[in-house]
C-alpha cells in the first residue's frame, strides 16, 4: 500500500481523483458537473461542444476529475483487485497539477467558422438608404443651431455617435461602420473633403451627406466595410 501515504498528503481541494482511487465515489463540491452518476451525459455535451476546448483543457480536466468516467473507470474497475502500476503515478501527476489554478476557468465559446466571405444576396450596404438617414439626422440636429466654438466640440462628437447609431439600424449585420463628421463655421472659405478606400467594391460602400445653414456647415460620411 505504498500509495496510501501519498493519498493522504494530497491537498483536499483535488480530492476527487484521489478519492476515486479508493473506489468510493464521494460527491464533491468540485465535481458538481461530473458526479459519479451523470458521467455519461456530461461527457456528451462537452465533447460535442468544442473539441478544441477539451483538448486545451485536458490537463486541467484531468486534475479536476478526469474526462468524466474515463479515468475513474480505469481505477474503479479494479477496486481492491490488482491495481495497474501506472495508477499511483497517474495520481501523483494529477496531484502535482492540482496546485495550479484553483478556480474554474471560464469556458470560452468557440464559434464555428461560417465560411461566408461575401454578404448574402440582397444584404448589401444600401448607400441610398444610409444617405437618407444621414440627411435626416443632420437636418434634425443642426436645423436650428448656430456655430459656437465651445459647444461645437461636444456637438460634433455626439452627432458622430448619433449618426453611427442610426446608420447601424439600417445596415445589414456583419458590417463594420466608420462614421466621420466634419463641422465648420460658415464663412467665406472653401473646403474640399475627399476620401478613397481600399476594400472589396462588391460588398463595401459608403454614403455621405452634407448640411449647411447660415452659421455652420456639416459633412457626414459613413463607410460600411463587410466583416469577413
Amino acid at each position: 500500500m505504498a500509495e496510501q501515504p501519498s493519498l493522504e498528503l494530497a491537498p483536499s481541494t483535488r480530492v476527487t481523483g484521489v478519492m476515486a482511487a479508493d473506489g468510493t465515489e464521494t460527491p464533491h463540491p468540485r465535481a458538481i458537473h461530473r458526479g459519479s452518476h451523470p458521467t455519461a451525459p456530461s461527457r456528451g455535451p462537452e465533447e460535442g461542444k468544442a473539441p478544441q476546448l477539451l483538448s486545451r483543457r485536458s490537463s486541467m480536466l484531468s486534475t479536476l476529475a478526469g474526462p468524466p468516467g474515463s479515468r475513474r473507470s480505469s481505477l474503479g474497475a479494479a477496486p481492491g483487485g490488482k491495481r495497474p502500476s501506472v495508477g499511483p503515478w497517474l495520481l501523483h501527476s494529477r496531484v502535482s497539477f492540482s496546485g495550479l489554478p484553483l478556480f474554474q476557468p471560464i469556458p470560452e465559446t468557440h464559434l464555428e467558422n461560417t465560411y461566408r466571405m461575401r454578404p448574402e444576396e440582397g444584404c448589401r450596404f444600401n448607400a441610398g438608404r444610409v444617405q437618407r438617414v444621414l440627411e435626416g439626422g443632420l437636418a434634425g440636429v443642426l436645423g436650428g443651431t448656430t456655430y459656437s466654438p465651445q459647444s461645437s466640440t461636444v456637438l460634433v462628437q455626439s452627432l458622430a455617435e448619433l449618426l453611427r447609431g442610426q446608420a447601424k439600424e439600417v445596415v445589414p449585420p456583419r458590417y463594420k461602420l466608420v462614421c466621420h463628421v466634419l463641422l465648420g463655421q460658415h464663412r467665406q472659405q472653401s473646403m474640399l473633403v475627399a476620401s478613397q478606400a481600399l476594400w472589396d467594391p462588391e460588398s463595401d460602400s459608403f454614403a455621405s451627406a452634407s448640411f449647411s445653414n447660415a452659421s455652420l456647415f456639416a459633412v457626414a460620411t459613413v463607410h460600411g466595410v463587410y466583416f469577413e
Binding site: 461645437s152 463594420k176 462614421c179 463628421v181 463641422l183 463655421q185 475627399a194 478613397q196 481600399l198 466595410v225
Partner: protein, 111 residues
Amino acid sequence: FSDYTRHFEPLHFEFSSIYYYFFPPLLSDYNHNKVNQWTAAIVEQSLTHLVKLGKTYKYIVTCAVMQRSGAGLHTASSCFWDTTTDGTCTVRWENRTMNCIVNVFAVAIIL
C-alpha cells in the same frame, strides 16, 4: 479615441512618417483650382503606401483641405468595429493658407 491611436502605434508611426513625402509639394498657397488634384494625390499616395506596409487590412483614407480664413472646424468620427484589431490614425498639417487633415481607418480582415 486616443486609446485607438495608442493601440495602433506601429501603424501610426509608419504612416505619419510617410507624410513627409507628401506635404512639401503643398507648400504653395491655397488654390481652388488645384485643390482637387492635391486631395486626390494625397489620398492615392496614402493608399499606395499603406498597401506597401503589407498588412491584412482594409483601409479608408479621408482627406479634408480647408482654406484658412479664421473659421473654426471640428471633426469627429465614430466607428463600429472590433477595437482589438481595428484602429485609426490622423495626420494634421497646415501652412499659412490652408489646413489639411488626413484620417486613416484600418479595418482588419480575418483570414
